[in-house]
């Protein structure tokens, strides 16, 4: 697909830089039945971001945004660890599954809350999800009682740090979720309905789409993705930190979506693009480490990337900078019409 060409190009360029600066970058080896290598690590450490970004993609496709995913990451990790820490045996698989269930149910409930505020109450998405972004951190600390809950559970450790069939388990989870989303949106019809609501909400309503329910489902799903990411992150370090888990992941996720070619104005979305976008961000971090640039400058690179991507996406920028001598087309929106939107 043409739309994926240039994020793929950026990723390739980043990998190329690594090839030059790092020995054995593309080397993948099997040790003790597990796959190892820099490329595997990019996937492994990038897995939570990919998940959150996938959920965010659907939200953004509906013309929305979800700022609360970082908080949901922290809450779900905290809830799972709290449940496990109270188990008589932390290695009990049933107990761990129960804990995961409780954590994910909580995440979904929070997502439904976001969806309710956006769809039913009619609050702008950025504001509606800001509430949970602020309160959620407190909620996560409330769950952990302000401590960092440390657990020692082998089954739980599997989610973020374990291997299965030689592959890191996190990659398997991402693959399963990606396959699921791709199935539901592209094989089933959810994707079309989402793109339609994001592209023209009124036309969608008049075509009989139940946009309220759809929005709630999308926000709930986004929170579910964040919840799973939260499990991965806490499992990887075998502890839950209400304060720092998933800090700023919402911004990285939005960035990944935008880099992947899904417009913040809603409508068409690209799951593949989002995965590429998340991988670019993760590779950028890895690259900066590996070529010896101080890791602190990652943020500078990100600032640069956001600016360039957004400028390129802005029609006003393209019109002003790549101005051609064509006769300007008549405005399709009559001057008076824009005004009615806001009262």
């Amino acid at each position: 697909m043409k739309r994926l060409a240039w994020p793929a190009g950026i990723l390739a360029a980043l990998l190329l830089v690594n090839l030059i600066f790092t020995d054995h970058f593309f080397q993948i080896e099997i040790k003790e039945g597990h796959l190892y290598g820099s490329l595997i690590d990019i996937f492994r450490f990038g897995a939570p971001l990919i998940l959150v970004a996938l959920g965010m993609t659907l939200v953004i496709a509906t013309k929305g945004i979800d700022l609360s995913v970082g908080s949901v990451v922290a809450i779900s990790g905290a809830m799972a660890c709290l449940q496990i820490s109270t188990l008589p045996s932390q290695d009990s698989i049933g107990g761990v599954l129960g804990a995961i269930g409780v954590a994910l149910a909580l995440a979904v409930a929070l997502g439904v809350g976001n969806g309710f505020l956006v769809a039913i109450v009619g609050i702008q998405p950025i504001i509606a999800t800001l509430i949970l972004m602020v309160a959620g951190r407190g909620l996560a600390q409330l769950i952990t009682d302000g401590q960092i809950i440390t657990i020692n559970s082998d089954p739980y450790k599997l989610i973020g740090g374990g291997y299965w069939l030689t592959l890191p388990f996190g990659i398997i989870i991402v693959a399963v979720v990606l396959a699921l989303i791709a199935f539901v949106t592209r094989r089933l019809a959810l994707g079309l309905l989402i793109e339609s609501v994001g592209g023209n909400a009124e036309a969608s309503r008049l075509s009989g789409i139940r946009s309220h329910g759809l929005l709630i489902v999308v926000y709930a799903f986004c929170a579910l993705c964040a919840g799973i990411a939260g499990l991965m992150i806490s499992s990887n370090v075998s502890s839950a930190d209400g304060n720092n888990a998933g800090l700023w992941i919402e911004l990285d996720a939005i960035l990944a979506v935008v880099i992947g070619g899904t417009s913040l104005a809603g409508g068409r979305f690209s799951l593949g693009g989002t995965v590429l976008g998340a991988l670019i961000i993760q590779t950028l971090t890895t690259t900066i480490y590996s070529i010896g640039v101080p890791p602190e400058t990652t943020l500078l690179f990100k600032a640069l990337v956001v600016t360039i991507v957004c400028l390129l996406q802005s029609p006003a920028f393209r019109a002003k900078v790549f101005r051609s001598r064509r006769k300007p087309a008549p405005p399709t929106v009559p001057a008076g019409e824009k005004v009615t939107v806001r009262t």
Binding site: E195, S196, E202, A203, L206, G208, R210, G267, P334, G336
Partner: protein
């Protein structure tokens, strides 16, 4: 007769594929209210936009008080003394009345805004317009009518010589209209030239001294209101459809099939009306733009909520809260506002085509791709959609082809009642004839059609009976027999059904 303050000569304006204005002459005298008349697409709004500098002109010239002018935007026009007040009022409702009159040129004392002086001057100004209101309150506190008058006050105080009122009355009640007219008369006395656009004929005949009529981007003529009977006005606005279209069969025989839809005293944004539609019957809605045609359609489709009355579909009494509920009852509605209520521009022809069907099936039961391709191929062929590439983005199609895709979106559902709101507007003659033929075929197949069009010939040719609307009121229901002609329809619209 006084010298014209504004004179537009030979104005031409072309958009890709459309000649919006073609050699139009227009003049405005000081101290008159001049109505600009015409149906959709006649070129009224283009003329206003050309005048106020929103668009540039391709040919012709504009003279203001004897000087040739060309404005780069509404702001420049305003500075030269041409102010426009739109229906939706371009003011800031969050600010006080006084600020809305003075913002950008607030009186200042020692460098700070002199609020007291600003309020005093606003009060004085509004009192001259018979509007003694508290000017310290936010504009949003007041009704739309008062907001419009505040906009007018701002325009006057900036020294407007020409005031354009673009459909100011569409959302006002009778009392508010009277108040607005009082203000307009007072301004007239002060020598201000007022260009007035309204779809309400009564209002035109009450307030306008003269009028200019446009049709299809051309000037029909300039008339003194008192000398032009209403029926002639309607005739001049609507015109006659020339023999461009192949004649369809003689008028269809009246239907005697079962009643499908029965609305009784149903009302909302239109006055309560009663209307029955039989199975296989084509009911035409005739009336000028803004007469309530679309409002009736939206009520029957559940897009708006009914405030009064009852609705029966297929014998069951129903309350339609959402379009979805109407669809479940077999009602389909193809909106006149393609861009905002029809197209999802970023989706392909195929996706737009199956959207309503998919919405009905829900997210979990996709229309199988093979079925999609069959349906799409069938309707592309049946409706002659060009180009015939289903994977093209719909925004790249021409207006007529977009319209056919939207029509197909509803036909796929095989509705029992199909509401078509201006399905032939702004599309080429060939596509128009195809859509008309389709309506006849659908009706023969047993589908009821509510057909809305500004073109009376078209309504007459297709309908079994015609409901006539005027000023948001259903004024007559006429069987389409030999006695019904476009003249009779025009007469009915002009007289409001009172013969």
């Amino acid at each position: 007769m006084a010298e014209a303050i504004l004179r537009m000569t030979g104005i031409g304006k072309e958009f890709p594929g459309v000649r919006a204005l073609d050699g139009v002459d227009f003049r405005l005298l000081p101290g008159e209210v001049h109505a600009l008349m015409g149906e959709n697409g006649a070129g009224k709004s283009t003329l206003i936009k050309v005048l106020t500098g929103v668009y540039s002109i391709d040919s012709g010239e504009i003279e203001l008080a004897g000087n040739r002018v060309a404005f780069a935007g509404p702001l420049e026009a305003q500075k030269a003394g041409i102010s426009t007040v739109y229906q939706e009022v371009n003011l800031c409702r969050n600010l006080s009345v006084a600020e809305n009159v003075f913002i950008g040129r607030e009186p200042r004392k020692f460098g700070r805004i002199d609020w007291r002086e600003m309020r005093r001057r606003t009060s004085d100004l509004l009192r001259q317009l018979d509007l003694p209101i508290d000017v310290a309150k936010p504009l949003s506190h007041y009704s739309l009518a008062i907001q419009q008058m505040v906009a007018i006050a701002r325009a006057i105080d900036i020294d407007a010589r020409v005031l354009i009122l673009d459909e100011p009355t569409s959302s006002l009640d009778a009392g508010e209209v009277a108040q607005l007219f009082r203000v307009m008369r007072r301004l007239k006395e002060q020598g201000i030239a007022i260009l007035f656009v309204s779809h309400f004929l009564d209002q035109i005949y009450e307030i306008a001294d003269r009028m200019t009529i446009l049709r299809n981007g051309r000037l029909v003529g300039e008339y003194v209101t008192a000398e032009l009977p209403q029926v002639e006005l309607v005739g001049k606005m609507i015109g006659r459809e020339l023999a461009e279209l192949e004649r369809l069969d003689e008028r269809p025989p009246a239907r005697t099939s079962d009643t499908l839809v029965e609305a009784s005293e149903l009302g909302g944004r239109v006055a309560p009306f009663s209307l029955t539609i039989r199975e296989g019957e084509v009911v035409g809605l005739a009336g000028l733009l803004g007469s309530g045609r679309t409002e009736i359609a939206r009520l029957l489709f559940g897009a708006d909520h009914a405030a009064t009355g009852t609705l029966r579909i297929g014998g069951d009494q129903v309350t339609l809260r959402t379009p979805r509920a109407a669809m479940a009852r077999g009602v389909a509605f193809c909106s006149e506002n393609r861009r905002e209520e029809g197209l999802v521009p970023e989706l392909t022809v195929r996706e737009n085509l199956i959207l309503a069907l998919q919405a009905r099936r829900g997210w979990s039961r996709p229309v199988p791709r093979k079925k999609q391709d069959e349906l799409v191929a069938k309707y592309i062929k049946a409706l002659n959609i060009r180009p015939d590439n289903p994977e093209m983005l719909i925004r790249n199609l021409s207006g007529g082809n977009q319209q056919k895709v939207l029509l197909a979106r509803w036909l796929i559902l095989e509705p029992r009642l199909l509401i078509l709101d201006e399905p032939t507007r702004g599309i080429d003659v060939g596509a128009k004839a195809e859509i008309q033929k389709l309506v006849v075929e659908l009706s023969d197949g047993g589908m009821a059609v509510l057909f809305i069009s500004a073109e009376l010939d078209e309504v007459l040719r297709l309908s079994h009976k015609v409901a006539v609307l005027r000023d948001r009121r259903l004024v007559a229901e006429l069987p389409n027999d030999d006695t019904l002609t476009t003249d009779v329809l025009m007469e009915t619209i002009a007289s409001g059904g009172a013969k």
